[in-house]
Symmetry: C2
């Protein structure tokens, strides 16, 4: 079993209304000093086998054809170490 | 300027219908060997100042009170290195 994380974010040149809504709300809630907020998606995928090069190639294909809209979104694929699954509110 | 990433995921014991929908669609699309999929949110926050301990404490407070619903969601806060903002489809 291996965990792979796919992060999908809107491309920098694409307007992000969700992120803008968050950014505009922050000063009202007392949080200043935030220059920009972008909001995207995070997929945590548990593979049945190991995260070898073949499996990662399949995951990248999955991300490209299905999880991300590559016209407007960028994605990154990375293997997450088991120790990395920290609990609530942890800083890592 | 520093970039901080906040990942917000449903707690493991909370049902994730979005992730389940993705997981069920994968075999139909030709992707086998995926044991589980969880879908969450990723926020990329650009701070105007440095990501020092005080700033990170504020970001954690922001995540806890505003970005995550800590009844059902866990969050993690981490500083992202500038070199980490790789382009489309990169593996890191």
């Amino acid at each position: 079993m291996a965990r792979v994380v796919i992060d999908v974010m809107l491309k920098p040149e694409i307007l992000d209304p969700q992120g803008q809504a968050v950014q505009r709300a922050l000063p009202r809630l007392g949080f200043d000093g935030v220059a920009d907020v972008r909001q995207g998606k995070r997929f945590e995928i548990e593979l049945e086998g190991p995260a070898d090069e073949a499996a990662l190639a399949r995951v990248r294909e999955m991300a490209e054809t299905f999880l991300a809209n590559t016209v407007i979104e960028d994605f990154t694929v990375r293997v997450e170490e088991p120790a990395d699954t920290a609990g609530s509110g942890s800083s890592r």
